[in-house]
């Protein structure tokens, strides 16, 4: 079995698996990492979003081989209970979700945005999250939370 090396949340990994398998399948199935969620398996909902390099991508339609030697960040690598990421703090402060199934993917899209653009305006946040679906209608709170996190990060 060929192996693929990449960095996951800062840790070097070597995975022995069919390189055509999806990154999501490797993360959830192989590594037992359940932060990225399965929603559609077709790159259409963003529930599985992770950051590769500096972009949020859907892990469900990303083959393992394509992340070789790259940096992959999942929600597990965004922040911890002790030290949550400003986005996570802001989502709690704004109570920016209902069921929350979409949230881990949305946080990754938002985190990638803030890396590229630390002080986005509302329209830019919406654009950055436009490929993420939320069925519960928590969109506006999420946008507010992202703006709040950006402000906090700027103040830090």
């Amino acid at each position: 079995m060929p192996s693929v090396r990449f960095r996951l949340n800062g840790v070097e990994l070597e995975i022995d698996a069919d390189p055509d398998r999806s990154l999501l399948d490797i993360l959830r199935g192989h590594l037992g990492m359940t932060g990225p969620h399965f929603g559609c398996g077709a790159g259409e909902c963003g529930a599985c979003n992770v950051i590769v390099g500096d972009r949020a991508i859907s892990a469900c339609d990303t083959p393992l081989w394509s992340v070789a030697d790259k940096d992959v960040t999942t929600i597990e690598g965004l922040g911890t209970s002790e030290q949550p990421h400003p986005l996570q703090r802001a989502f709690i402060a704004e109570q920016a979700l209902q069921c929350g199934y979409c949230v881990s993917g949305i946080l990754m899209s938002a985190a990638a945005l803030l890396r590229r653009n630390p002080s986005p305006i509302s329209r830019e946040v919406k654009e950055a999250l436009d490929r993420n679906l939320c069925r519960c209608g928590s969109h506006n709170r999420m946008v507010r939370a992202v703006l709040r996190a950006a402000e906090e990060m700027a103040a830090e």
Partner: protein, 712 residues
């Protein structure tokens, strides 16, 4: 005939408490300073668990952080039926409040005895019970000497609204940190020891039968544990999820299906619905003392398509057999109801089945949560005692789960010479809106219809009007018209599977009523807000309308391409009041720029939670109104992905403002379904305001607007 005078309203227990009177089934104290609360309702993203914790903490005078909420399970929880219909806070909340009030009294009596003081001298603060001087004890100290294994008694008075410190105040939901930190909280993220993975094969064509199944391909897939087949039900069990997917694909290639059953013409739903055999019920009738002279009659037809629940997560369940007992983990809305149906299918006593709730994604009604639980149970039979996790595909979720029923609604209004309403007739044609498990002598679960010895396919029915009705929900006008006649025709055939989706028929009926009212007001040249207020007697109804009008600055200045419209409803005619004003912009497509809402849910236990639910409902309703429609050809459902079943995206979401009218002395009612009808109507009326056309068929798309323009 002499009848005994009714007893001067003897106190009764809240319904859920009467059904589950044992106090210990609701609440337990530990000597370490915690209280565990065990409601029968489940978290579906609506924040119910937090609101219930607030109620318990408030009534007991303890810190919210001491409350541990237990997930519903048939092994331990009170049976509170289903978590639906915006009834949880009403039912579970009241029961819990009464139970806690009584438990508090029991502890106070015990403390008074132990401390040798009068009960009235005692005071509780964060569980510490203190009396005169330094006398003190606590719930935790007394926990072992007080038995709660006794039945609740009627007549206990909970605290008055003004002495509640938590209920009525916004608190952070207790489930949110896990979800934001990506901790495994959803059923999808739980792994049981030795867990296997299952997938079920389903036909593409509606209700096709599995004729032949060549298993060779699937057998060759690494990790395969079993291929399960029983009639048209077939599936695979594998060591890994990936292996299950690959094996399922192989199995699909080896399957030969019969022809399916004919589906209706998606472009002529009204004719289809009206032509089907149906059962007719008169829902409401009001006769006028004296009727005016009819100068004119207007008749309008409205339609709503089939709508998908379209949860972001595909349905998922786990099951594990131990001899003739099975344990099921599910995100079903009713653990006892699911258990009842599983017992029917498996022909087992209910005692052999434990059904335990784990959180899923928002479901918005009866989706495939229950179906997948039976799938897991059937697959797990071949797993040699190991647990099996079954999960549906996106495609399955969008085509095999029950849909919200399509509706055709006709309203006929007689007007007098001054254009005043003198008679009102409302007719509905629709499949039933409920086919939930656990309610009938036959199961409602999909796999049950596919077995070698199949159960008959359930045809959806409607809950009785006393429970809010189904297709007829919200069809009786809240307005004070002189006379009316409301009739519902429930289809007795069901080519497309339907069951409960948020509001049941409420969204369709409110859309129809509020649209035609708007039309009548416009024809009279009367302001639609004034027109509504003039026809309402209920002050709470008028208050939400006045509040929303004030908040939205009604009526905003008329600008080209921009329109404003209002919609109002009281969910189920007995629940939350909600009025909405929409501001839309018409360009290539219609976009909703802004929604302003005012709601009255009685006592809002967690006001921010209520606002969150109303915002969510308003946004979902915008999605339904502008975009959503289950698509099909004559053979199969074709809208099986997010591309073919688009929902509202971030860039399309309106700004939403919500105002709550707090009524601390009124029983709390749910908020999750209050906004859908009013928002849909407000959008349709705003489209008229902008473009001068009435779109009466949902969703309001560009094509529908062009069609409506051609008609007028």
């Amino acid at each position: 005939m002499n009848q005994p005078a009714p007893a001067p309203s003897a106190p009764t227990l809240p319904v859920s408490l009467a059904a589950n009177p044992k106090l210990s089934s609701w609440l337990k104290f530990s000597s370490s300073g915690e209280v565990t609360v065990s409601p029968g309702k489940v978290e579906i993203g609506q924040g119910i668990v937090t609101a219930l914790a607030q109620i318990a903490a408030d009534e007991l005078d303890i810190d919210l952080a001491r409350v541990q909420m237990i997930r519903a399970s048939t092994a331990v929880s009170p049976n509170e039926g289903v978590t639906s219909g915006s009834l949880s806070i009403q039912q579970s909340g009241r029961a819990l409040r009464h139970a806690c009030a009584e438990i508090r009294q029991i502890f106070l009596r015990q403390a008074a005895e132990r401390l040798g003081v009068g009960i009235d001298t005692l005071h509780i603060e964060d569980g510490i019970i203190s009396g005169p001087g330094n006398l003190r004890t606590s719930y935790w100290e007394l926990a072992d000497e007080v038995s709660l294994d006794r039945d609740a008694t009627p007549g206990v008075t909970p605290k008055i609204a003004t002495s509640r410190t938590l209920a009525g105040h916004s608190v952070q939901r207790i489930d949110i940190p896990d979800k934001v930190l990506g901790r495994p909280r959803f059923i999808h993220d739980r792994a049981l020891a030795g867990m296997l993975h299952g997938r079920v094969l389903r036909p593409e064509h509606a209700r096709a039968q599995l004729r032949e199944l060549n298993e060779d391909g699937a057998r060759a897939v690494a990790g395969l544990v079993a291929i399960v087949r029983d009639g048209s039900f077939a599936g695979v069990v594998s060591e890994t999820e990936h292996g299950a997917e690959v094996a399922l694909n192989a199995l699909r290639k080896g399957a030969t299906w019969s022809d399916g059953e004919l589906l209706p013409d998606e472009n002529d739903l009204a004719s289809f619905l009206k032509a089907q055999p149906s059962e007719s019920t008169v829902i409401g009738k009001k006769t006028a003392a004296s009727s005016g002279t009819v100068a004119r009659t207007i008749r309008r037809q409205y339609t709503r398509p089939y709508l998908a629940h379209a949860s972001i997560a595909p349905s998922c369940a786990m099951a594990q057999w131990d001899g003739d007992r099975v344990h099921v983990w599910t995100h079903s809305q009713g653990v006892y109801l699911l258990r009842a149906d599983l017992a029917l299918v498996l022909n087992l006593p209910v005692e052999n089945i434990t059904v335990e709730h784990l959180e899923g994604a928002g479901c918005y009604g009866h989706n495939a949560a229950d179906d997948v639980a039976l799938d897991a149970v059937l697959l797990a039979k071949s797993a040699g005692g190991r647990p099996v996790r079954a999960q549906w595909s996106r495609q399955g979720e969008m085509s095999d789960a029950p849909f919200g029923a399509a509706m055709a609604i006709e309203i006929e209004v007689d007007l007098d010479a001054r254009g005043e309403i003198i008679d009102w007739r409302h007719s509905i044609w629709s499949n039933g809106h409920a086919a939930r498990p656990g309610r009938a002598a036959q199961p409602a679960l999909l796999a049950a219809f596919e077995l070698e010895n199949p159960f008959p396919r359930m045809v959806s029915t409607n809950p009785p009007q006393a429970n809010g009705g189904g297709g007829d929900r919200n069809s009786v006008p809240l307005y004070d018209f002189p006379s009316w006649h409301i009739e519902s025709h429930r289809l007795t055939t069901m080519p497309i599977r339907t069951s409960a989706l948020r509001t049941l028929g409420g969204q369709g009926n409110v859309f129809a009523i509020e649209s035609i009212l708007d039309e009548i007001a416009a024809e009279r040249g009367e302001d639609p807000v004034a027109f509504r207020l003039r026809h309402l007697r209920d002050e709470r109804a008028k208050d939400v309308i006045r509040a929303v009008a004030a908040r939205a600055g009604w009526k905003p200045e008329k600008l080209p391409g921009i329109g404003h419209g209002i919609g109002f409803g009281r969910y189920k005619n007995t629940g939350a009041y909600c009025a909405a004003i929409a501001e839309i912009e018409s360009a290539e497509e219609i976009s909703v720029r802004k929604l302003t809402l005012a709601v009255d849910v009685g006592e809002a236990i967690n006001p921010d939670g209520v606002i969150n639910q109303i915002e969510g409902g308003a946004i979902q309703a915008t999605s339904w109104a502008l975009k959503e429609r289950v698509r099909f050809d004559r053979e199969r459902i074709t809208s099986t992905s997010w591309t073919e079943y688009p929902i509202l995206r971030f860039s399309e979401v309106p700004d939403v403002k919500v105002e709550i009218i707090q009524r601390p002395d009124m029983d709390p009612v749910g908020a999750g379904e209050a906004a859908h009808g009013p928002v849909t109507a407000a959008i349709a009326n705003a489209v008229f305001d902008a473009l001068g056309v009435r779109v009466r068929d949902l969703p309001i798309t560009r094509d529908r607007i062009i069609a409506a323009m051609d008609l007028s």
